[in-house]
């Protein structure tokens, strides 16, 4: 019965069923939602705080694989370590041993509360027993070529548009009556235009400054699909500034070289372009200190107006997933701007009440002050 429930509901269903379902939902939802939201929240937090160095069940990366870590170590130790790694890495024997094993790369302090650490451990335990990943979060699927429909946007244009169109039609009629045929035709076209704009055009056409779907050819064919999708490298591994700085930044070449010192060609490379690009990268890297050396140059895709300031760290620290604004990057061969990045689109999320917000966000109901972004 449960499987086709949405279908039944959509088609009416019996009143009794509706009442029953409401009754069940009334009692069931909060409990379920809470568990669910906690799970999602920590899934989101794991993505933004841990995934760049750790995996659950996919082997060691920068740091150890965390699969079933709660069974391997004492709970107090884990909580203490995650909260203040710096203290442990200096004094605790176990921690020092691990530090040596992982090339002396120190874990940084994450500034998490005890409740957050406990939640994260719960998530890791759950993830250890089954495939859990970014798919757990309700991330938006955004079609770059289809304008997103925004409620409330452009409201107020409809009525003036129609009135304008009517006035213009009247004017055209008057002109025609007086014998000014050419002027009348011109005004008539204007009237049609105004009408089109108020009914459909305003929803179909984008503002000139809106760049949704922008997908320039880059000097190098870097594939996010391969790196973030197939290889599942966390976004923040390369764009690590996003959690510290207002700017996410394009990774410096030394980050590429962490892997590409040994990876000389891609697994699948039908066109041979991949190998060529890696070779170019290696050349640039090796000649980096020479005068007039070539540099890695990218064409900027996401470019906000200069009068807007967007802070990556604020959003990342709120457990927001990169895909929420950048779209399904892990499926993109070439980077494109998936979201419209207009103010109406930004404010859509800022207006969300805690009850409407995705479960993995830490906070919802963000500021609507102009000066939050327009500085």
């Amino acid at each position: 019965m449960c499987a086709d429930l949405p279908y039944r509901l959509h088609h009416g269903g019996t009143p009794l069923l509706k009442i029953l379902i409401l009754f069940v939902l009334f009692f069931a939802t909060p409990v379920r939602a809470d568990e669910d939201s906690d799970f999602k929240r920590y899934a989101g937090m794991f993505q933004q705080k841990c995934a760049k160095c750790h995996t659950v069940g996919k082997g060691d990366r920068v740091g150890p694989d965390l699969k079933r870590v709660s069974q391997r170590r004492k709970r107090e130790w884990l909580i203490g370590f995650i909260q203040k790694p710096s203290a442990y890495l200096d004094s605790d024997e176990e921690a020092i041993k691990m530090l040596k094993k992982f090339n002396n790369v120190r874990m940084e302090d994450l500034n998490l509360s005890t409740a957050d650490v406990e939640g994260m451990l719960e998530y890791i335990s759950a993830a250890s027993e089954g495939p859990v990943g970014p798919e757990d979060l309700d991330l938006p699927e955004q079609d770059p070529y289809k304008r997103l429909q925004m409620p409330n946007e452009n409201s107020g244009i409809l009525v003036p548009g129609l009135v304008g169109s009517g006035v213009l039609l009247l004017l055209a009629a008057v002109c025609f009556h007086l014998g000014f045929v050419r002027i009348s035709a011109f005004v008539f076209v204007l009237a049609l235009g105004a009408g089109y704009w108020s009914f459909q055009g305003r929803a179909t056409h984008r503002y000139p400054s809106e760049q949704q779907g922008y997908e320039p050819v880059q000097p190098m064919e870097f594939s996010h699909k391969n790196h973030a999708g197939t290889l599942r490298i966390a976004c923040l591994y390369c764009h690590h500034a996003a959690e510290k700085s207002d700017v996410a930044g394009v990774p410096p070449a030394n980050i590429c070289m962490n892997c590409h010192k040994s990876v000389k060609k891609p697994k699948e490379d039908p066109t041979g372009r991949g190998e060529k690009d890696i070779k170019f990268l290696m050349d640039v890297w090796e000649n980096r200190d020479k005068p007039n050396a070539e540099r890695l140059e990218w064409i900027r895709v996401h470019d906000l107006a200069d009068y807007v300031k967007f802070s990556h760290r604020v959003h990342v620290n709120n457990n927001m997933q990169c895909q929420e604004c950048h779209g399904p990057v892990e499926t993109m061969e070439r980077m494109r701007q998936a979201a419209p990045l207009t103010m109406a689109w930004c404010v859509e999320c800022h207006r969300k009440k805690p009850s409407e917000a995705p479960a993995h966000w830490k906070r919802a109901g963000a500021t609507l002050d102009c000066a939050a972004c327009h500085l």
Partner: protein, 960 residues
């Protein structure tokens, strides 16, 4: 720093890509009706410009793009060597702030220090060494210097860096018959010479104004420009807090000719001619000797001065009452005056208490007679070569013109100036030094307080550190960094763990060396015998008073537009200097403001516009130094406005007064010309000219009334009526500011800080004349009925019921949920209704796209702030970017914002700590305490606009 080379993109490839983009964006055109063709046509063109991202090859650990880094260093703008921290974004220093760890400057930084960051990006800086005015290689310079083996004179302004001094000594040791001559453009030579006479050591004392309950200054503008103004303001201001106990507020008397900002802050200010300084001090000395029962030789007795005896007695009795806790200062460069000052301080037992000769100050070590001796040697031809290490004596020494002539005859002339200034232009070789923000170095402004200078950017041009040049010429080339470290290892950081301690000191920016405190040398009574009664000066001529201006200083930063547009605190003039006259003198000479007058002395004459200055001593004419530079660059000569709006060039760069700066008597003539001053304030009086009633913007009282009633001084303030507006709710923070008018000295550090932080444009002289200056924060200066001046920083008051918000037709100015009044530049269409409706007149309109064509200088722009374009209104934002950034920090660390964590640029740099900013919803915050203080009031509160900026009544410590 990494060097970036841009690969030019293949043109065809670019076109192809553009086409491809267009096809994809074609939906815009599809189905578009003809009436929108025009919009569409412009629409497709409206793609943001294609931008490139060029990442670093190797990113240093802990450095992120877009992240702000702070480096402790030392300000290099003058010899006071205040501690500074440089804000570095993406490899570029963009702002200098005071280093709170520095024991002298304690987080303050003056306008000139802050503006020095723009000097770094000045495109007028030398880009490589020169020989005979032509670009040369460093090796050629070294070879030319090496040829001269003996008798080289190194001329420098006071060397405050012990490491640079060591490098000079290394060079002198190598070259036979060489010597170092130090001079100062703003000389304090007499203070040192007088101490040689009275205490046997030629030394500048270390002043401890913080310990002084009574300060008597005779012509020393110690809050504005004298020796170390930031340090002195930090010392002076805390003692100006009236308290509910007697005798907690210091008493400050100022005897001076020109009206300085120090005088404006004094409790007793007497306008006297410079020639009366000596006599006044002599009378004070006699009274002090009488009251203290001084056993030693007394100042010479003689006829009393015309100065009111009651004032002299009051001053003397105050000094004696606080003997050992008082301080007498003088800015005079006359040894007799300074000897008298030393005698009075000795009689009061102040040595060892409020001033010290051990530890002593090093901010001024110049020797006027030494420089005169050098000129004589140069004339006699006994000098083989001259190296100008720092300073610009051709311009800033009274005998500069003669020096220039003599240099032509000298075999080797080298200037190490970073720019082609007057002295460098007169030299054969120019070996440009780095800017302070590019160099390694140190500074010891006062004994045992040693601060480090570290580079915050790799050298932009092919310049070389002066230390490295000197070491190369002494035959032991070494990098400045190595030399500095080696010296520090030997001198200051002896013992184990040098690397760690060096790193810590670098991070701190300053080291206080543990030194045994030795005894001050004793006062030598015999020195008093040299003092005599002075004959009064001539009556017919005007006495000339020259002073370094608070904004431009001695003129070394004359190509800095930020400083030129920072108004003089007293006269409120920008862009150029003026001759100040007392109102009575102006009347008798029949001159009005802007009338060009000719000052002549010693066969030299200077022309400059007149300014009428209340409070100026009768029979004196005062003018600022530092203007009229011929070789500073386009800004000093005729700032950018000339390009944008052609205007006549009269006196744009001001007039150079150094040639007559050592003369006392000048002839004043009126000319036929007029030159309007570019003033930022044209209404000076606190009394309403029509009703004659006092306008209560600045509320002031005196200490006695304050004790009777802490709210005294309110004046006739009308009650605000009931508000028609619903009250705002501030669920989170509610930001507010309190400005203590008792602490504020008017030094204009905040004005500079605000402009630098917020990318406030510079508009130029012509626009200032039209009152189109853009300062978000201005300092109003008013004179009260008794001619006393008071300063009031005026900025957007962030009213709860803001009049500007209600009149904006496009909702470009709105109220935030945290009590701020926000300005949205991209919404603003420039109706200027808001500015008209603002009772405080703090909104600024961009009449033009102001100069941003100097790409080098644009590197100093703050990337967090929009650069406003033409037709947009702007105003103080309470540094909302800092609030946002602090909130992001706090959220990232899961904690609430701490009180005092957010400091707007003005509050951060204030040397007097007069500005407090914080969250008024937090009842324990500093700001809540300030606002709850009985002294707190709001300007124009009767309008009911409910400002978020509060002022604290000014209390003067005077008897009525």
């Amino acid at each position: 720093m990494r060097r970036v080379t841009y690969k030019p993109m293949d043109k065809k490839q670019q076109e192809d890509e553009d086409k491809q983009d267009l096809v994809k964006r074609g939906s815009f055109l599809k189905g578009m009706s003809a009436s929108f063709a025009a919009l569409a046509a412009s629409g497709c063109g409206l793609r943001p410009p294609k931008e490139k991202i060029i990442p670093l090859m190797e990113q240093p650990e802990g450095v992120f793009p877009g992240e702000t880094m702070w480096y402790a260093t030392t300000c290099g703008a003058c010899t006071a060597a205040c501690g500074a921290i440089a804000k570095v974004r993406d490899g570029r220093p963009i702002k200098l702030e005071g280093n709170p760890e520095h024991p002298l400057s304690r987080g303050g930084l003056c306008a000139r220090g802050q503006a020095s960051v723009l000097d770094l990006y000045d495109s007028e800086r030398l880009k490589q060494p020169l020989i005979g005015g032509k670009p040369a290689a460093w090796s050629e310079i070294d070879a030319r210097v090496d040829k001269q083996k003996e008798k080289i004179v190194v001329v420098s302004e006071t060397i405050v860096s012990p490491t640079l001094r060591a490098a000079v000594e290394a060079f002198l040791k190598k070259t036979k018959g060489s010597k170092l001559v130090e001079y100062d453009s703003i000389s304090a030579s007499a203070i040192l010479d007088a101490h040689k006479r009275t205490h046997g050591v030629r030394a500048l004392p270390a002043y401890h104004l913080g310990k002084a309950r009574v300060i008597v200054s005779v012509g020393a503008d110690f809050l504005g420009s004298w020796i170390s103004p930031v340090e002195f303001t930090k010392d002076w201001a805390p003692n100006r807090q009236p308290d509910h106990e007697w005798d907690t507020m210091s008493w400050h008397a100022q005897f001076e000719a020109a009206h300085s900002l120090t005088g404006a802050n004094a409790d007793l200010r007497m306008a006297i001619k410079p020639s009366a300084y000596y006599e006044t001090l002599r009378q004070i000395g006699l009274s002090v000797a009488k009251e203290t029962g001084w056993k030693g030789p007394k100042p010479p007795a003689g006829p009393a001065t015309p100065l009111a005896a009651s004032r002299i007695d009051e001053t003397a009795s105050q000094l004696v009452r606080a003997a050992g806790r008082s301080l007498v200062l003088s800015g005079s460069n006359d040894i007799a005056v300074q000897s008298l000052v030393n005698l009075i301080n000795a009689m009061l037992g102040n040595y060892g208490e409020t001033l010290d000769l051990d530890p002593r100050g090093h901010q001024k070590a110049g020797d006027d007679s030494g420089f005169d001796g050098f000129l004589a040697e140069l004339a006699a031809g006994s000098v083989g070569g001259v190296i100008f290490l720092s300073g610009n004596p051709v311009y800033d020494h009274p005998d500069g013109a003669r020096l220039k002539e003599l240099l032509v005859r000298t075999k080797l002339t080298v200037s190490m100036s970073g720019r082609l200034d007057e002295t460098a232009a007169a030299c054969q070789l120019v070996a440009p030094d780095h800017h302070a923000l590019e160099s390694w170095g140190d500074a010891e402004a006062v004994d045992a307080v040693v601060s480090l200078t570290q580079p915050t950017i790799a050298p932009i041009y092919k310049t070389r550190s002066a230390v490295e040049s000197l070491l190369a010429w002494s035959g032991a080339p070494q990098s400045a960094h190595d030399f500095l470290r080696a010296r520090w290892k030997k001198e200051y950081l002896k013992g184990k763990d040098f690397d760690q301690r060096w790193h810590d000191t670098l991070k701190q920016g300053v080291l206080v060396v543990e030194k045994r405190r030795s005894k001050n040398p004793d006062f030598r009574p015999a020195s008093v015998a040299k003092l005599a009664v002075q004959a009064p000066g001539s009556v017919s001529a005007f006495e000339l008073v020259v002073y370094p201006s608070v904004s431009v200083g001695d003129g070394r930063q004359a190509n800095n537009p930020w400083l030129h547009e920072t108004p003089d605190p007293m006269a409120k003039t920008t862009w150029g200097n003026h001759a100040s006259f007392a109102p009575e003198d102006a009347k008798s000479l029949d001159i009005v403001e802007g009338r060009v007058v000719r000052l002549s002395a010693n066969g030299k004459s200077m022309e400059l516009p007149a300014h009428i200055q209340p409070g100026q001593a009768l029979g004196t004419v005062a003018a600022a130094l530092g203007y009229g530079r011929t070789k500073a660059g386009p800004v000093a000569a005729n700032f950018p406005t000339e390009k944008m709006f052609p205007i006549d060039q009269e006196g744009l760069g001001g007039t150079d007064l150094y040639p007559i700066s050592r003369t006392f008597d000048v002839m004043v003539e009126k000319t036929e010309r007029m030159a309007a001053l570019a003033k930022t304030q044209t209404y000076d009086l606190m009394t309403d000219p029509i009703t004659g009633r006092r306008r209560p913007m600045v509320q002031e009282t005196n200490l006695q009334d304050y004790f009777k009633d802490p709210t005294s001084g309110r004046g006739d303030i009308l009650e605000a009526g009931p508000s028609l507006w619903p009250e705002h709710e501030y669920p989170g923070q509610k930001w507010a500011m309190a400005i203590d008018l008792n602490a504020c000295t008017g030094c204009s550090g905040c004005v500079a800080a605000c402009g630098i932080e917020n990318n406030v444009p510079v508009v130029g002289k012509a626009e200032v004349r039209k009152s189109r200056d853009m300062h978000w924060l201005r300092i109003d200066r008013y004179y009260n009925e008794e001619g006393e001046a008071a300063f009031q920083p005026m900025l957007c008051q962030h009213c709860d019921n803001a009049p500007c918000e209600t009149v904006c037709p496009v909702l470009a100015t709105l109220h935030s949920s945290e009590g701020m009044n926000m300005q949205v530049y991209n919404r603003c269409v420039g109706t200027r209704y808001c500015a008209n409706n603002c009772p405080y007149k703090v909104r600024r309109f961009n009449w033009f796209d102001y100069a941003h064509e100097d790409l080098a200088q644009n590197m100093a722009l703050n990337p967090d702030i929009t650069v406003r374009s033409r037709g947009v209104m702007e105003k103080c934002s309470f540094c909302v970017q800092r609030v946002q950034s602090a909130k992001a920090d706090a959220k990232g660390e899961n904690r609430p914002i701490a009180d005092g964590e957010v400091k707007p640029a003005c509050a951060q740099s204030c040397p007097a700590d007069a500005i407090v900013f914080g969250d008024i919803n937090d009842k324990n915050s500093e700001i809540s305490k300030k606002v709850g203080d009985p002294r707190s009031y709001a300007v124009l509160s009767e309008l009911g606009v409910a400002p978020s900026v509060f002022y604290m009544t000014k209390v003067r410590n005077k008897k009525v």
